[in-house]
Symmetry: C2
Subunit: 750 residues, 2 copies
Amino acid sequence: MRISVVFAIFVFVLFPFLASAISDDKPILGFSEKQLTAQRDLENKFDSSLNAENLREWMKRLSARPHHTSSPYDKDNADFLAGLFSSWGYETQIEQFKVLFPTPKTRVLELVAPETYKAELSEPTVSEDATSGQHNEQLPTYNAYSTDGDVTGELVYVNYGIPKDYEDLHLRGIDVKGKLVIARYGASWRGVKPKVAAEHGAIGCIIYSDPAGDGYRYGDVYPRGGYRNENSVQRGSVMDFTEHDGDPLTPFVGATENAKRLRRQDSSAITKIPVLPISYKDALPLLRALEGPVVPQEWRGDLPITYHIGPGPAKVHLKLEFNWDLVPIYDVVARMNGTTYPDEWIIRGNHHDAWVNGATDPLSGMVVLLEEARAISELAKAGYKPKRTIIFAGWDGEEQGLLGSTEWVEMHQDELRQKAVAYVNSDSNSRGFLDVAGSQTLEKFINQVSRDVEDPYKKISVQQRARAYKMMEGDPAAKKEARDREDLRLPALGSGSDYTPFLQFAGIAALNIGFGGEEEYGQYHSIYDSFDHYLRFMDPEFQYGVTLAKVGGRCVLRLANADVLPFEFTGFANDIGAYVTELKKLTEDMREETEIKNTMIQQKIFEAYFDPTKKFVVPEAQEPVPHLNFAPLENAAENLEQLAKDYQKEYSDAMKEEKVSAEKMQKLNSILMLSERALTRTEGLPGRPWFRHQIYAPGVYTGYAAKALPSVREAIEQKKWKAAEDQIKMVAETLDRFAEEVKKAKKQLD
Amino acid sequence: MRISVVFAIFVFVLFPFLASAISDDKPILGFSEKQLTAQRDLENKFDSSLNAENLREWMKRLSARPHHTSSPYDKDNADFLAGLFSSWGYETQIEQFKVLFPTPKTRVLELVAPETYKAELSEPTVSEDATSGQHNEQLPTYNAYSTDGDVTGELVYVNYGIPKDYEDLHLRGIDVKGKLVIARYGASWRGVKPKVAAEHGAIGCIIYSDPAGDGYRYGDVYPRGGYRNENSVQRGSVMDFTEHDGDPLTPFVGATENAKRLRRQDSSAITKIPVLPISYKDALPLLRALEGPVVPQEWRGDLPITYHIGPGPAKVHLKLEFNWDLVPIYDVVARMNGTTYPDEWIIRGNHHDAWVNGATDPLSGMVVLLEEARAISELAKAGYKPKRTIIFAGWDGEEQGLLGSTEWVEMHQDELRQKAVAYVNSDSNSRGFLDVAGSQTLEKFINQVSRDVEDPYKKISVQQRARAYKMMEGDPAAKKEARDREDLRLPALGSGSDYTPFLQFAGIAALNIGFGGEEEYGQYHSIYDSFDHYLRFMDPEFQYGVTLAKVGGRCVLRLANADVLPFEFTGFANDIGAYVTELKKLTEDMREETEIKNTMIQQKIFEAYFDPTKKFVVPEAQEPVPHLNFAPLENAAENLEQLAKDYQKEYSDAMKEEKVSAEKMQKLNSILMLSERALTRTEGLPGRPWFRHQIYAPGVYTGYAAKALPSVREAIEQKKWKAAEDQIKMVAETLDRFAEEVKKAKKQLD
């Protein structure tokens, strides 16, 4: 109701884009002209079967009680999901693993000087929110995989707590050794904050949600609006993912009942210092009690105070104790076997566990996946048989560290490496613009999918709407690219949801799909991520839920039915070329910046500039940035580009002539299916053995954000020049290996 | 005391810049080698006479009571200043004018719906501030030259209230007709806000000081720190300067007792709608009561709320009545006659009136000027005789609209146009970096002055320190320029202090000089701009006051004593060339943006992008930007560059040979003195008859900021293409006329 009071509803009568009306006459990658009509019909039938009311009902049912990992309602939901899949005719299993899942026993945070304040650490009931009062079942506010600890010390505000922030502190002559830090959420995966703090000698870490992050800066706070209110806390995992994802005690293998487990103290995944998330109501007295230098402008949040860095005089006491239990988790896996290629698997997944009630995260995506599965089962009842095997999965334990998906992938890794074609993930979904990232061998594929799905309100394709978004909201270069391209460049995947073990550990081509940008998203990982919140602020009519089902359904149905698997390599080669250019520019920019800075140091510009009444440290001169030999990468990229073009031409001819034998077709598909695996190396990335993909990885110090060509990029960023040159060769080799597969694929079409 | 608690005092031991140690062996523009040593000696004697204690004592005396225009203590201060000048041997006069100066009779601002709140409109006594309790003598918080009014209506938040903000409102389908607007201070001269609001049909205007402007965003608020607290209000004039500066009733002529006066209702200077400044404590209930769309991110300030635009449901009542009195003002003018060229005047000025106690604004500059005058009088007592006439001036009525300086310039305009060499202005001064702007024919001159004055704490030249600042704080292009140049490009003057009538009305070369950047400046135009505030947060040891006296003293002594007036034209020609390039780029950028926007409109990108639940208006397609003929300006700039080089060469030769006759020298100086006048036109700028300078003007819609080549620039910005081409020719003609003067100057040196 509220939404219509605050916002005048005002829908434009729109004409479709002249050049982008959705039409049924465009080719679809992987389908011969003969198959095209049948596939179009199938997709139309699929669409017409979709029903927003199902999404709403399932979300209401699944979010009715807190359902965090291993909670009673988590199990109940898993059973419910399995029941649905079974009722639709899928071969369904609940696969169970046993994982380390700490829950809080003691949580104390208090300001002990110069005045005292005891943090509340609680989220109160809100009368407009029917499930917010289920306090008995709610997990308290905390960070999973924080170590136990009982520490007292001076406080230092460290902004986002990323490495750059500590450089800024150093310039001001401030260190955090023996002190507690308070960082705001944002700019990195939250687990990076305690990791970096500990690396700098801090003894404890507090993370808070500044209103500048997802609070009143963006809109009214809950329940008046959808944004984070003063009491709301972002729970979340702080697992250190550097070495591996998934259960901390069973890296590389499935966490079965009898799996060989590390001792907890030997796990690299648990933080070195205690860490606790708090609300901005609890943060305010702490921040207000800080003195010392005023923060740099870009460090300040939106609290009505002057932000000071400290250290002190604010002194805090943080005490945390956890139950370090092994608990069961429940992955729901449902299968519809393929007829022609049963050993080629298309996997569509979303997690089902939440931090609390999780209407948005993850149920807004999970209910879409259910509707896709239901609609496909309707098609099957009407006689449809997929060529390839379709697997729908509802993962458990995602919130703690992608536990359910990772253990499942580790458990089945050999079979998956042989049989998986692609993994298509969703997580939260809401009103707005299509947001996709993934393996760029699927760039053309997903562009065709998004070209063929209509926005529910605008009556243009979701691709064109996403392109409009990029033209309006991107940085200048991105805006220009959006204007210059007809389709959308597919960004790479970092981490943050269940695609990670598939893509980065198992080398399976992956996509992550969802809508967003027009919601009021301030409930993340709080008790207010509820059905009531979703209905008012996320996607009240579930229209973007239905639209996501159209996107996800097309992904599954096209991958499952294609004559030739719809991988395409010219776009990928182009993306690789762009990454190489980017890395060269990064190096050039670093060289220029280093030269400028060194000259300024030599000319004593810093001394001249600094305020004489304030403490500053002159930065040290840096080693000059050498010229790196990018030739191996450039050659590999160009070689790949040529072979990709050759394959593409051969493919186009073959699809017109339809003369490839079934045997060759099978071989071709098999090569294509395995091609992404050629982008991995068994030894993984340097220092990150579990991350095997050589093209995509999350950054060690960003966590969520993708780093393309990660081994090279991070070596450059960390100024390890020898390693950079070694990795340039290594990645070039990997690309050459991949190019060989493309060549082999082409041969099948000769 | 507080400052040493908050900030650790930490002064670096510094080595001077290798290339920039202050030395006595560098040439000084305008001085033959023979004269150089004498001038250096004079300047050293001048320096050694300066005494920070004088500055402190005078500031204490002058700021002891409120001394706004025409107040008892304003007159008392004028008498005190005149007494000092007289006691030092200057021929001193108090010149009196009679000006329109409204003061408030009624000030009511109240929120009348949806709840009620009555604005306090008062600044309370602060116990740490000895003069803050002088409420009987303090002017209330108000905007001078607001019209009377009694209006009630819905409220709309308009950000800074500049034209761009109304475009953004239009895109959201919001207009302000019949409503009151609330704008935050910043981004423009305050008088622009009610002007633009009235142009858009608003019936009232409220201006408030957001903490993001000069409040807790930057540091602790007064009295803990120096920044604006919740009760503090920025008073200030809102006179409409479009047609002229100075007394609203006597444009173009001195406001003598019997001057012919406009009727008040015929003055263009008074606002069309009532306008009142308020504190953020008074603004908060109003802003909080707004609903409607959430503001764009760049519109939000630092109050702990979601900023909504409205209109309404907040409804406010604003009632203002003023005493529209004619009051006397007191300009203090002190003269030391020149021996060789008594009819060549060097004028050094600062205002003495304040909004309240005005320790910083204007006394921090005024006491420096006094000390310069005193030190020069000491030199005179020891036998020094300036070649040219030196005039020191303390203007009254600056705060209301440069009344004192403007009336004086208008009164003496004929004589000034004949005799004035240059006007050197100061206003507020504090710790930090030299900040200079002015006529670019003085670019080399002021660079040599700043090269020869040492920073009081850093022991490097103030020029090098300012250059370090630009390297650290500028935008990338400015940083690069600072690295690439040894000296500093002199920025152009806009408006905001008493140089305006000299430069822009009378065509007298002008400079504005001061230090700043390390103070805590949140007291502007409030009762807290006090001696106590100054001592803690501005320049506690008056060391930058003494340093400014060294800069100002050198300006005066060099201009007064030079063999050849130190105007230099190659730098000016280079600056003009840069402005022409800038205008071409501006036009190119506008063309590209228009093309992109029109294409996006045609492709319905805006419709595709907008949130369907919110109200938005698709922008209208714009007329394409034509190619303009910049050739006349380019030719004029190149011609000037060549002639400037010729003059420079001839000048250098002449100064070495010292063979120019006294008669030729006099002629040369006379040409140089009048050269700036050649940059003016009697009819003024289009629609702005009082602004005669064709190269520099304040922007009609920015007020403070300089617009170089204003007639061309504003025509382009306003898309008046025909006018732009006409003005290109007109300005080219003006530059040619100026170039002729340079040619004539050269001839004297042949």
